[in-house]
Symmetry: C3
Subunit: 353 residues, 3 copies
Amino acid sequence: MKLRAGNYFEDFRLGERIAHPTPRTITEGDCALYIALTGARNALHCATPVAQALGYRSRTVDELLLFHIAFGKTVPNISLNAIANLGYADLRFLVPCYPGDTIRAESEVIGLRENSNRRAGIVYVRSNAYNQTGELVLTWVRWAMVNKRDPNAAASGSVVPTLPDVVGADRLAIPPFLKAAALRAEVTGATDLWDDYEIEERIDHPSGMTLDESDHTLAAKLYQNNAHVHFDAMAMKETPFGRRLVYGGHVISVCHALSYDGLENGFAIAAVNGGTHTNPTFAGDTLYAITQVREKWALPGRQDVGALRLRLLGIKNLPAAKLVSPLAADGKYHASVVLDLDYTVLMPRKGSA
Amino acid sequence: MKLRAGNYFEDFRLGERIAHPTPRTITEGDCALYIALTGARNALHCATPVAQALGYRSRTVDELLLFHIAFGKTVPNISLNAIANLGYADLRFLVPCYPGDTIRAESEVIGLRENSNRRAGIVYVRSNAYNQTGELVLTWVRWAMVNKRDPNAAASGSVVPTLPDVVGADRLAIPPFLKAAALRAEVTGATDLWDDYEIEERIDHPSGMTLDESDHTLAAKLYQNNAHVHFDAMAMKETPFGRRLVYGGHVISVCHALSYDGLENGFAIAAVNGGTHTNPTFAGDTLYAITQVREKWALPGRQDVGALRLRLLGIKNLPAAKLVSPLAADGKYHASVVLDLDYTVLMPRKGSA
Amino acid sequence: MKLRAGNYFEDFRLGERIAHPTPRTITEGDCALYIALTGARNALHCATPVAQALGYRSRTVDELLLFHIAFGKTVPNISLNAIANLGYADLRFLVPCYPGDTIRAESEVIGLRENSNRRAGIVYVRSNAYNQTGELVLTWVRWAMVNKRDPNAAASGSVVPTLPDVVGADRLAIPPFLKAAALRAEVTGATDLWDDYEIEERIDHPSGMTLDESDHTLAAKLYQNNAHVHFDAMAMKETPFGRRLVYGGHVISVCHALSYDGLENGFAIAAVNGGTHTNPTFAGDTLYAITQVREKWALPGRQDVGALRLRLLGIKNLPAAKLVSPLAADGKYHASVVLDLDYTVLMPRKGSA
């Protein structure tokens, strides 16, 4: 029997290590497709001379493209039978990824908790992605609710890991070669630097983007994320959703690309502190984005670059300026909010040139 | 008059040789798009370090991508006026194709048979694709029913070529440098090797993929296949189909990608013995795949790698496990079966490490 | 306030120079996507050995892909608040662009004219695109009607620039290294050369291509053209169009790709003399193309290559052969005509081999 049904909740063991199949050489082709799928305009990912002026070897692979490809590798082993991806934490980009690098991923099961109804349970994994020289380029924790094959099967222990709420400034990887002052306003289109953002400031990004079936499925296939919910419209017809679900990572990418207008000098994502997909997104939905500034951090030993901790809200079918609050009166997420992402970007500081 | 109407049946001459226009440099960009269009996960095509461990110079171009590009070149001269592509035979991949290689194609007319109603006829061609150094990388025979411009025109002879039912093991091109034992389970995601497959074994691949207009048309444009049936919805409205037809090669690619789960160590396609598009596929259809093992061949002089002759059935709007037999009670293909492909893959053998 | 609302008519100053953000390294990935989006088959852009035989360093970036990327850079500063892109003039391709080149763009405001109702005005800009070594690769003038933020705001002067109707043969950039005779019929698929085209000749190109939402939005995102009209279906519902507009440049590209059959040896676009988007195009429309030969020019000092000045008509939902005239009885454009483009291609001359 060569049934590839993926792991069910009772198949996971605490401390188990899983090497995920399908290492992937990420190429200029993937980078071009990522731009076509999202409209991303970050200069570090678009232009080699800009990247080199900043000290990088060449343009880098968009951090979110890298994440989606690495994440996609974990799907066949971790979440093929997931009911829901519940959250992310402690995601850190540690080493730049360049076109031509080959990425492989491994995961360790760091937590397991069966649901009280015993039909499913939450699996917590720490996943690590390595490049071809064995450097750890990216690490993250996620947890997902995974079905049991057999509700009567015994589950292995009950451990909920302690996770940091935020990746502190001291744990951000700032490339030692980085020359942040080389990022010029004529390249990014804006003069606002780290100093110009204020805590609690809210930016209603002006653009919206409507999703279609082909582009979200192309994205998920590019990431080799084979979760059935994104691809099989016939099977999805039998679910409460009634149709294919957009991969949550594509929602992150589109909202992040929409947030470029107002955050132009945030040249790289350093960490994702946490994130939730608060409502499903479908083809036909139009996405908008709001950013709120949560914290501003100077970085140890660096006068030229600071970090902004941001909240990125993804909204569907409601322009950014029309959302008063992401929470409805009952304290739950507004039905239009599809994404609540807490992440950290690097941005040049003033007077550092 | 610069009318480019393509050849009609009466234009073909037995033994005629045709050099097809538009040589194509296949790049990393094409490979990335192929993954995005199909979700293919074959490690040899995804990761250069894996390919190098196997002895290849770098990751190779997916055999089906190579075939579709080479096939697309033949369309303007051979099948622009085809009513139907009737079949393939004796397709062999002879030399690996790498990103950066440039492919051109030539065909020879090896058979012609007019229909009894004299309105059309069957054209048989042997097509060859060469790389930039003149090596023959791929060869195949196909036959198509092509309209006549003028039913009264005289047709040139009536010859039906003798074609092999199967590409025998001795005619498969196994790269002399190949180190098949280097393909590790952690890279492909499965431990099943050549020894683990049994003749008559059936694998119901678990995933389905719904097609949309944009992705099948992007695929056919990528392959520079300019057959009108795939692109011109307005003209297709006047046909019995009523809408655009999905390029049969895209159906092969999607079904082959779906068949990865269960055939993970089949690292390269060596030959296509035959194939038929048994029913049309349209945007909106969800494809599923079944593999049946037909034959197992040891390969002359190789202990490390064997060949599996497989039958790949593509089904639409019916999950694999629900198809009892590809044939209906009347002996014809079940209306859900869209593809019946007979092909041969290379797979490592046990104990060869 | 980090509102990125783009410039309004009263923000422009005559003689103002604008450096556009987001320089872009154009890669093999972009070239592959361009083929997938348009089906373009020009041999110079498809095959490195062909390009090298012609004297180029490698296959070149399709002139229209280069243009769309350069044009896209100007959108955030020039036309984010445009009501209509009114026209192009004096577009010249000066230096070949190769995969790996990085393009940046600058514009100068060369004309301003307020509408009599004072609610909007026409902005004329000369835009220049440079490669990473500072060479001017492409230059063009366009004019757009741009809204005023405040109808009562004073507008700066009223200057309408004098623009050439046509880019004369003496202003075309012919690469000195070009060996046009090396372009062979077996590579392009046609023997018709410059000598074989007659002034006033009309070519009804045989193919049609239906557009879908995903492919036109993928194209505009690839070009990083962030005009809202192409992406935000929700906002477009409130406009007279009722839905997303296809980027006019994508219409040019698709029609140009359709015109390959009949113009196969027109290996490079040298100039665009002028162009108008005469009607909107939407997903679901099927495009067809007609070419009329306007002028034939010998080129100074060259026996091997000539120029053809062509009129490319893009038509929707009407096959080329069915359009009697692009103008209706009232002297306005036929409702099916979406594009009227006047451009110049280079083509080998006979007997030059």
